[in-house]
Symmetry: C2
Subunit: 294 residues, 2 copies
């Protein structure tokens, strides 16, 4: 707008070209290479469905180190041979694993991990969301992750957003070992924050889980084993042949590009929008992640 006024003041006769208003997609497309961080291959869990479809999960060792180490040991120890997706509850979660198996844990698995539901806020550089959060004193982003936190309580936790991945567990004091995992396929169930160990998020293929038929038993369990969705394999990308490894990068949430992205998400002003909201929910920001050419 200021540009147009300037043109008028200078007496230019040609109309100023309409300034195209940025969409979140525009911000992502124009972000410089320096705004992107590559996800280490050792933090990528690659799950292939037997019927086709790949789901790739970025693990979060900074938030749940023992649970994440377990998941890596489970993958390397072929624990999930024969695993299935056995629970799909609408607007909640899809869950997979061996479902009440007594298969022994592979080497390197801690059978009873600590309750990694929060961690210390110390050492974390948070980009604040800039909008109120109903679930915690603060909300924002740390190294690409959506987090809730309390400066006073000195805690931070990964937030349960769409595509977040967590560890199924029994009633406390059980903390879950990592053999049974779930991904969020509906509106953010933030009531699970600080109650359960989150270990990462799906960065590719969440739609392969969210579009599965819903289970009709209580909690969305499939009624018949014939409905279970077989998993062909779960591997770490770092254990795959280099030529086959998928690779991803996320937008650095400390970058100026992400600051702009966050602002635009909270203030949609492109053609379709009429009233920028002036605020945004933590789980409605969706940190950009994209596949890298390999």
């Amino acid at each position: 707008m200021k540009v147009s006024i300037l043109f008028v003041a200078l007496g230019l006769t040609a109309a100023a070209p309409a300034k195209k208003l940025e969409t979140p997609t525009d911000v992502v497309a124009s972000a410089p290479a320096s705004a992107w961080k590559t996800i280490p291959a050792d933090d990528l869990l690659v799950m292939d469905l037997a019927g086709g479809g790949r789901i790739v999960i970025q693990l979060a060792p900074a938030f749940a180190p023992v649970h994440v180490a377990n998941i890596k040991a489970l993958a390397r120890g072929h624990y999930w041979d024969g695993a299935t997706v056995y629970r799909v509850q609408d607007n909640y979660v899809a869950q997979w694993g061996l479902n009440e198996s007594d298969k022994p844990w592979p080497a390197g698995v801690t059978a009873k991990p600590p309750a990694e539901y929060t961690r210390s806020l110390k050492g974390l550089a948070v980009r604040p969301l800039g909008s109120p959060d109903p679930y915690a004193p603060g909300a924002g982003f740390v190294a690409g992750w959506p987090v809730a936190y309390s400066p006073k309580g000195n805690w931070a936790n990964l937030a349960h957003c769409y595509a977040s991945v967590g560890v199924g567990r029994d009633l406390s004091p059980d903390t879950g070992t990592g053999g049974e995992l779930y991904a969020v396929i509906g509106h953010a169930p933030r009531q699970l924050d600080r109650v359960i160990a989150l270990v990462g998020r799906v960065v590719e293929g969440i739609d392969k889980l969210s579009s599965l038929p819903r289970g009709t038993e209580a909690l969305g369990f499939y009624k018949d084993k014939a409905q279970y969705v077989p998993i062909a394999g779960i591997r770490l990308a770092s254990d795959m042949p280099a030529a086959e490894r998928p690779s991803y990068e996320y937008m650095d949430t400390a970058s100026p590009a992400f600051a702009r992205y966050l602002h635009v998400r909270a203030n949609r002003h492109d053609d379709f929008y009429i009233r920028p909201a002036g605020g945004v929910d933590l789980c409605n920001v969706q940190v950009p992640v994209r596949k890298k050419a390999t």
Copy 2:
């Protein structure tokens, strides 16, 4: 806890039985008949998929009267004969209708409705959410609906939550007529609040939409018409034979039972939970709706 202390003080030797902590489901199950309101048959839109599966939508004439009147006229005028679900975008919406048809509007349709994106707050009895909302000065519930509002601005709007139903439109000043509808199948896209006309919510069968295969074209449109999901019929329940009409009731959001439900949703303290959040997001409350025996 006080009861236990009392037992100790009285010198009783038997332990007090553990008090079962209420879940949201418990609150719904124990709500008295007076806490429930029947949805009028004239406000129920019944959509049957040709391949099986029923989706029932409660319309909200108090929020978008002209758009809702249009939808009723479209159903009664058989406008949707031959309609399909032609767009399913992951974590966003499923959309149906005739998709860029030039079929004439039936009698009674207002071709260019007003922009029913907000209404006056006056006359609405709001039960406040009690937690902050990132998108509006206030959030709460009115007659069973999740709403955002501004006392200062004297406006209120239905909120875009999971299963909300809205009217597809072109760029403003187009406001959409009602022939193309969408339902939210992912995390609440609240940035669409006050930007588009919401006309209701799915009260049964949202999983029939949310589990559809995702479209692979831009915005989740299906690539080939062969992928379109055919709709057998869209009718008002009030136009169905009485014996075939489905009927539903919702929990009156002004009732004490709902106050309790809201409290428990914001403070989960039953067996699985460790730390009540002390707050809840508007779209994570999910006003209870259930089928009535007919």
